[in-house]
């Protein structure tokens, strides 16, 4: 069931939606009336950072928010940062929304809104999903656990809320595509974007990536539910450290070739990286029915199936990514799919 943990955000009161109209001039064209919610003063900027794995939709989420902000009449900027471009690799995406021209570019080091779409990234040192969280940051973690569980296990600043958006999208869209719901949460938290605009933005961005109308409609449905259940946090004051942070310029000395050249002397440590944490569904073999044909073993693209002394396939669950090639290839259909929820 979809549930939004409200405990961590209990200090946020209901905010009255003050609606103001502003005329916006777009180039040489005619004036256009646009509606801005909760406009109090100039110089509002919201910095949103999305964390996810390649394929989950965080880039699209950042674009949905960017488009929504643009349609609402704000200045907007969005972009992704990949590193190694492959499915499952940690990625970040960013959106900046402001009522004034945005004089910033690049990675958002201190987010106001920090969306972590994949809870397994919390343990990934390279992904560093909690860096830069300040006392005004709202972090949303996609997990079935409550926010207290996150707070007890990880150190971060600011507010935390948890929401199981994977469950929500599996229920409504039948696919673990998180873009629209992550975007919906972010939009609501900015306090600057309306439901109608969010809908327009979702349709636009999902059409751009050639999704069918039926799928887009389901995305909108899930997103609107998420939007309604996300508390309005526009009242939370951002208390990031002002300007100067102690970080002096250092003088670099010559380090010699063994240190100063881009090479690695330690043994490869890929083997310590357990990719089993990427799974949402787990393959299970019915050994009563298995005929030991080895089709699954041969086809597993990650070499995660071994044959034991009795000739039966054994799945390495520490590394199995849940691609289900084995299930697709099994001629007897003895492999099934089980929903797996992370145990920490």
């Amino acid at each position: 069931m979809f549930r939004f943990d409200r405990v961590a955000l209990s200090n946020v009161g209901a905010v009255s939606q003050t609606v103001l109209f502003r005329k916006a001039r777009l180039g040489n064209g005619p004036y256009r009336k646009i509606q801005i919610h909760n406009m109090k003063k100039k110089g509002i900027i919201k910095r949103i950072r999305f964390h996810g794995r390649g394929g989950q939709g965080m880039k699209t989420a950042s674009r949905i928010v960017g488009t929504a902000a643009f349609v609402e009449g704000y200045y907007a900027q969005d972009f992704p940062v990949y590193g190694a471009e492959r499915r499952g690799a940690p990625i970040m995406a960013f959106t900046r929304v402001s009522d004034a021209p945005i004089l910033e570019r690049g990675i958002i080091v201190q987010p106001d809104i920090n969306i972590i779409a994949d809870e397994t990234l919390l343990d990934d040192n390279a992904a560093n999903v909690l860096q830069g969280t300040g006392s005004g940051t709202i972090t949303i973690v996609n997990t079935h656990y409550g926010s207290s569980h996150v707070k007890e296990n990880y150190s971060l600043n600011g507010e935390v809320a948890t929401v199981d958006i994977t469950e929500l999208v599996l229920k409504i869209i039948n696919k673990p595509a998180l873009s629209s719901v992550a975007a919906a949460s972010a939009c609501k938290l900015t306090g600057m974007i309306s439901k109608d605009t969010l809908k327009v933005a979702i349709v636009k961005e999902l059409e751009y990536i050639n999704l069918k109308k039926a799928v887009i409609d389901k995305n909108v449905e899930a997103a609107l539910i998420c939007f309604d259940n996300t508390p309005d946090c526009s009242n939370i004051k951002i208390k990031h450290p002002e300007g100067y942070v102690e970080n002096k310029v250092v003088s670099l000395e010559y380090a010699g070739p063994r240190v100063g050249s881009p090479s690695v002397y330690t043994m490869g440590n890929t083997i310590t990286k357990k990719t089993g944490s990427w799974r949402l569904f787990k393959p299970a073999i019915d050994y009563d029915e298995c005929s030991r044909c080895r089709a699954c073993f041969v086809h597993c693209p990650h070499s995660c199936i071994a044959i034991d002394e009795s000739g039966y396939p054994q799945i390495d669950y520490e590394n199995c990514k849940g691609c289900f090639t084995c299930m697709d290839e099994c001629p007897k259909d003895v492999i099934s799919r089980e929903r797996e929820v992370r145990a920490w």
């Binding site: 180039g27 040489n28 488009t67 643009f70 200045y75 900027q77 972009f79 670099l252 090479s263």
Partner: protein
């Protein structure tokens, strides 16, 4: 005219589309592939009337671009870092052929070490090829510059290819609002290419790119190329002025920001300039009179404009997002050479190298730059090239060095 959220790459594709180009030889490379992907989609779907050819490498691609231009077609292409370098000898060739065309370089720091993030060593390596270079700061500017670049390139006083630089990731993959000009307005500003020196016509056969033996002949054509490039300053100014008249957007060869009463000046280029502008606002609030110059036209180098803008300023700091190892920042050399004999040149000229491989230039590094400027003015002692690297950078680096087994602690 329509306003849309576009990435720098998409804006570049729109520039080529509005310029009504005839031929796009292509080869992919991160971070520019999106440009040619979009163009191929448009050409295939009929939205653009052009020919698109997948080449086997950037060397072939640049050759194809130059030779196609020599037949009288309007050509567009795009590349980056390793790709630009792969076709390097052909860059000199197409300029030497006097083949007008526009090519985008999406800047990416050059291997080794391998990275995908931006700096300017790739584009600046081409500064001696004879190709005109313009560097951009925003996605809007990318689109607009393509339109201006064809005018400059095809002008009879110039007839040289143009390389337009846009930062990888910071512009190429970043979406921001871009005004897409109306097709008919563009047609009025940028008419069809009408070549008089190089074209393919059966009744008027000619030989292009002929071999020259003898120093006098070689020198003659090379000097002509140099003179053409110098002409491009005047042509650039004319075209930019006309562009402003038609489209309302202004792009001087050097952009000045808060310069009127400035005593200290930061000199930057490309998308990181926005960080300088943000830092400036903070300094101004503290009462420090800092201004900023953004170098846009790099080749030809706008000497007189630079001299005029820096006249009577106390100090200038050039922040190079590039490095010539063993020497220092590249643009610093162009700036100092321009100012050497100027009576009212700044008394202090400082060189900073930062942002290599896309490393951030933080507010703390800007503070450092201003401190060094002030100290140099007060003491009269001007330090050598400063490389920008912070405690945080070093801390992160030490962690990585340890994991890689390169340090003993």
């Amino acid at each position: 005219m329509v306003k849309e959220m576009l990435t720098g790459n998409y804006a570049a594709a729109w520039g080529a589309r509005l310029a009504d180009v005839d031929y796009v030889p292509a080869f992919p490379i991160t971070p520019q592939s999106e440009i040619i992907e979009v163009l191929s989609k448009w050409i295939n779907g009929g939205a653009m009337d052009a020919i698109f050819t997948n080449m086997d490498s950037e060397h072939s691609m640049i050759t194809a671009a130059g030779t196609a231009s020599a037949t009288g077609t309007r050509v567009f292409s795009a590349t980056s870092s390793q790709g630009l370098l792969y076709g390097f000898e052909m860059l000199y060739n197409i300029a030497g052929w006097r083949a007008p065309l526009v090519m985008i370089n999406v800047s990416r720091a050059v291997s080794a070490p391998i990275t995908l993030e931006p700096d300017h060593n790739d584009i600046l390596s081409a500064r001696d090829t004879g190709i005109i270079q313009i560097h951009t700061e925003t996605c809007q500017e990318v689109l607009d510059t393509i339109l201006m670049a064809y005018r400059i390139s095809e002008d009879e006083r110039v007839l040289l290819p143009v390389l337009i630089n846009m930062d990888g990731f910071y512009l190429s993959f970043t979406r921001e609002p871009v005004l897409i000009p109306d097709k008919n307005e563009v047609k009025g500003f940028l008419p069809e290419y009408a070549p008089r020196h190089a074209f393919f016509k059966a009744s008027e056969p000619m030989a292009q790119g002929v071999a020259v033996l003898g120093g006098s002949a070689y020198s003659y054509f090379k000097y002509q190329l140099h003179l053409a490039s110098l002409n491009a300053i005047e042509v650039y100014n004319e075209v930019a002025s006309e562009f402003k008249g038609v489209f309302g957007r202004s792009y001087p060869a050097i952009e000045g920001f808060m310069m009127e009463d400035a005593t200290y000046v930061l000199i930057m280029s490309n998308s990181f300039t926005i960080k300088g502008k943000a830092a400036l606002k903070v300094f101004r609030e503290k009462g420090i009179k800092v201004g900023l110059l953004r170098l846009r036209l790099i080749r030809p180098f706008p000497n007189s404009e630079l001299k005029r803008l820096l006249s009577k300023k106390k100090a200038a700091a050039i922040i190079d997002q590039n490095i010539s190892p063993g020497s220092g920042g590249i643009l610093f050399k162009d700036v100092s050479a321009a100012l050497y004999h100027e009576t009212h040149r700044p008394e202090v000229l400082l060189s900073f190298v930062g942002g290599l491989g896309g490393k951030d230039i933080s507010p703390e590094e800007f503070n450092y730059i201003i401190d060094v400027m002030k100290k140099s003015v007060d003491t009269g002692v001007v330090p050598e090239t400063q490389i920008l690297y912070t405690e945080n950078d070093m801390r992160q680096m030490n962690k990585l060095l340890k994991v890689a087994g390169k340090t003993t602690d």
